[in-house]
């Protein structure tokens, strides 16, 4: 187990370096630069800005300096918001995106797992068909349709909830439901498939033969194995969800990292793009590793293999 962790952590370094390098050169391939405006900028100001950010140096030197600073955790100031450090912008964005993501993931699990279990236990029954049809709808309806629809009904029709912004518990409800709906569907379907497989295993038959009550058989014996697919799914899902959903953040005006990253790319804010991409890569790898560790915990067969 420890060897696995060490091996993975060692792989982080070259992977991050490769991603950093690719991103560094790719953002500079896009036409235009960070200091452009509809109104002409005085030549002296442009020259000074380029000098200030080191953009007047040869590309190789810029790259070297960027790598050196990044290795020391210094991503520099944003080009678009010169008074703010990329590190702070990413940290603030992550905090918000992570909260939104955590609530959504929680809702997805709390609704999805029971729905999947019920569907598996009452296989081919009404509950199964109903919950699977609904989860199909959940996967199929994109956030940019569901979000505005919820806003229309609950914020603009009934005046129950704020239509956007990120202040107070009431403002969390609509974005969390919007973001969670697709995940609810995934979790329910994965749970159902995993449970059906688990319920057909010999150890379940043994448990039943021992005369254990059905709910004990299902929840104690079958569930830990049945939700393994969900755990596998959780690693990348958590990374994606924590990184922020550009669509949900845009609809609800939430100051998360997803919105920052997309805007940074449009603004040619080189340093902010790099910071956000590097963070995303690191988060993805770390959460995948965590999922793998959790997986080993739940299924003893994994460690042996």
């Amino acid at each position: 187990m420890r060897a696995l962790v060490v091996r993975r952590l060692l792989l982080f370094v070259p992977t991050l370096w490769a991603i950093a390098t690719l991103t560094f050169f790719l953002v500079r391939l896009a036409p235009g630069g960070p200091f452009q405006s509809e109104r002409d900028i005085p030549k002296s100001a442009r020259a000074q800005l380029m000098r200030l950010y080191g953009l007047d140096r040869p590309l190789g030197q810029q790259y070297g300096r960027f790598l050196w600073n990044a290795a020391h955790g210094d991503l520099g100031p944003s080009y678009k918001y010169p008074q703010r450090q990329v590190r702070d912008i990413v940290a603030e964005g992550v905090r918000v995106s992570a909260e939104l993501g955590a609530w959504s993931l929680l809702v997805a699990l709390l609704v999805g797992i029971p729905a999947g279990v019920i569907a598996a236990v009452r296989r081919n029954g009404v509950a199964d068909h109903a919950s699977m049809a609904l989860s199909l709808a959940g996967v199929s309806i994109p956030a940019f349709v569901l979000g505005p629809a919820l806003v229309l009904v609950f914020a603009l029709g009934l005046y129950w909830l704020p239509p956007a912004l990120w202040n107070g518990p009431a403002s969390r409800v609509l974005p969390v439901i919007t973001l969670a709906s697709a995940y609810v569907a995934y979790v329910a379907r994965l749970t159902r498939a995993g449970m059906i497989e688990a319920l057909s295993q010999d150890f379940v038959r043994t448990a039943r033969a021992k005369g254990l009550p059905e709910h004990v058989v299902v929840l104690r014996h079958a569930l830990p194995l049945g939700i393994l697919p969900v755990v596998t799914f959780l690693g990348p899902a958590a990374a994606r969800i924590v990184m922020g959903s550009i669509v949900v953040e845009q609809i609800f005006a939430i100051p998360g990292l997803g919105r920052q990253l997309v805007n940074a790319a449009f603004n040619r804010d080189y340093t902010l793009v790099l910071g956000a991409v590097l963070f995303y890569a690191a988060a993805l790898m770390a959460l995948n590793l965590a999922a793998e560790l959790l997986y080993a915990r739940l299924d003893p067969r994994v460690e042996a293999a």
Partner: protein
């Protein structure tokens, strides 16, 4: 639907702590809730996260709105007409040759930390903007000052040579390079706002953070959550604090237009400024009494790259210009939300009469095309209309493409690019025809004619005409207003005739202002001094017609 069911459940749980249905929601005259905010504050959408709130280095509209809440210049614009009114200066004298302005500051002016505001603060602020080290993108606003341009370009190194000095703590003497008719107006623009030297030297780049920032305007920054919201409280040390009726202001940074309009409808915003309404909503919103529209000093046009063949020939440019049916675009495509426009300067400068402007004339267009050597479009090279990605720009480009094809039989293609790529292409003249727009910085036709001068950084067409430059130069030295306007009108006629810009429409502003917000008006430059805005809780009983009519 599980989702809907879960939503209903969660919603009902939360609704216990959520607000009651807005009573005004059923009133068909108003768009959504008309319940005033609980606190005595104005909540509006600033449209974007300001890049900076340091007035000396900012350049965008979202930044400027914040700057004028926090700082006050020598003058302050009238909330309706934008005419300069006394601000930090209570009176001023102008020398007969129009070159020397002497401003007298009000006695007892204070920064929000209790330090006195002096004429030296203005000198410091203006030199700071012009210093090449500051890299201010808006430094050009100060170029009317003597020696300002040379100092900013690094040709002149002595900042004391720039035409601004403090003859004592309360007297500021400004010397201009040419009489600048609109200079008083400029003294209220964000670039010319004073900044606190002591706070900047103490705080470094972080001097604008809440808790550190020191201001001289009607409001102080109390909270700033990046990309979300800025909170402002009334500044008790502002000289006119007795007449500031709001306790505070809340400025959101919402970039999505649908979201902004939703928040307005739900009663979370009291003002949704122009630019915050999705274009397809406008014809529908026109029927509400809280929808406010008016002329905006901005024009939409196509720039032609005159360094490229065949557009170096004036006849080719005129052919394109005459073949655009602007009326059809404004009426059918934009559903009357904009006015068709055929000249460079917008409408509404008192005393200025511009040329008649280009008209749609297919016959004349074909004649011009023949004069350019392409009778009936034969042999005309394929070219592209470039625009930045936007549904509206695309629809207009498609219409113009069709007009040029049908009238002139020339092969036209369309290309859209994201903003930064598009800006890069336009700035470096890597285009044939490009969508452009221009917004006036000040209320004078010069704001629109200056960019067409030879070599001006905003020209971006390569067009250059010594006659035009001479007319503008003569106008800048002319003290008599009507003679100056005549010179500018002659320059404009020349530019319309030479057609480096193909005008299409005149912008208007479209905003939503709740009926209980008082003192907030449409203005020609879409500037909104918020100093004397107030929330009227008894708005239903007060006569509203006068207020609405004057907006």
């Amino acid at each position: 639907m599980r989702v809907a069911w879960a939503a209903a459940l969660l919603a009902s749980v939360v609704s216990a702590c959520a607000r009651a249905p807005a009573p005004g929601a059923a009133d068909a005259r108003w768009f959504g809730s008309v319940t005033p905010p609980r606190a005595n504050v104005l909540r509006f959408n600033n449209g974007a996260e300001p890049e900076t709130i340091d007035p000396g280095v900012m350049s965008g509209q979202a930044d400027g709105r914040i700057a004028t809440l926090l700082f006050e210049g020598l003058t302050t614009p009238d909330p309706r007409t934008l005419a300069p009114r006394p601000g930090q200066a209570y009176r001023w004298e102008i020398s007969p040759d129009g070159l020397v302005y002497t401003f007298h500051l009000r006695p007892g002016l204070l920064w929000s930390d209790g330090e006195p505001v002096t004429a030296g603060d203005f000198v410091y602020a203006w030199r700071r903007v012009l210093s090449p080290v500051t890299a201010s993108r808006a430094a050009g606003t100060l170029y009317p000052l003597a020696n300002a341009e040379a100092f900013n370009r690094g040709v002149l190194h002595d900042s004391t040579q720039v035409g601004v000095r403090a003859s004592d703590d309360s007297t500021l003497v400004v010397t201009l390079r040419t009489p600048t008719a609109y200079f008083l107006f400029l003294t209220s623009s964000f670039t010319l706002l004073p900044v606190p030297r002591h706070a900047i030297e103490r705080g470094g780049v972080a001097w604008t953070e809440p808790g550190r920032i020191v201001v001289n305007g009607p409001f102080m920054l109390t909270r700033h959550v990046a990309s979300e919201v800025m909170d402002f409280a009334k500044n008790p040390r502002y000289w006119d604090a007795a007449h500031v009726l709001l306790d505070g202001v809340v400025a959101y940074a919402i970039d999505d237009l649908n979201t902004s309009t939703n928040l307005y409808k739900a009663g979370e915003l009291d003002w949704n400024p122009s630019g915050g309404i999705p274009a397809p909503f406008i014809p529908y919103l026109r029927h509400y009494a809280d929808y406010v529209t008016g002329e905006f000093q901005a024009t939409y046009f196509y720039g032609v790259n005159t360094t490229r063949k065949p557009f170096d020939d004036v006849h080719a440019r005129r052919a394109l210009d005459l073949a655009i049916d602007r009326e059809a675009i404004a009426r059918d495509l934009l559903r009357g939300t904009r006015r068709a426009w055929g000249r460079i300067t917008p409408d509404g400068y008192a005393g200025y009469t511009g040329p008649a402007g280009m008209r749609f004339d297919p016959e004349a267009a074909r004649r011009e095309l023949a004069l350019a050597g392409f009778p009936d479009g034969r042999g005309f090279p394929r070219f592209t209309i470039l625009f930045n990605t936007s549904e509206d720009h695309r629809r207009i480009a498609e219409a113009v493409q069709e007009m040029w094809r049908r009238t002139l039989h020339v092969p036209v293609e369309l290309e859209n690019q994201d903003w930064a790529s598009y800006m890069d292409a336009v700035t470096n003249l890597r285009y044939a025809v490009a969508r452009r727009s221009w917004i006036g910085d000040y209320l004078d036709p010069n704001a629109f004619l200056e960019p067409l001068r030879s070599g001006d950084g905003n020209n971006r067409t390569g067009w250059s005409d010594p006659r035009y430059d001479a007319l503008l130069r003569d106008a800048s030295h002319e003290l008599d207003a009507s003679r100056r306007f005549k010179l500018l009108a002659r320059a404009e006629s020349l530019a319309v005739e030479q057609a480096p810009f193909l005008p299409i429409y005149h912008y208007s502003t479209h905003e939503l202002i709740k009926p209980y917000v008082r003192g907030l008006y449409h203005t020609a430059l879409d500037l909104h001094p918020l100093t004397h805005v107030w929330i009227d809780r008894a708005w239903r009983s007060a006569p509203l017609a006068a207020e609405a009519a004057s907006r």
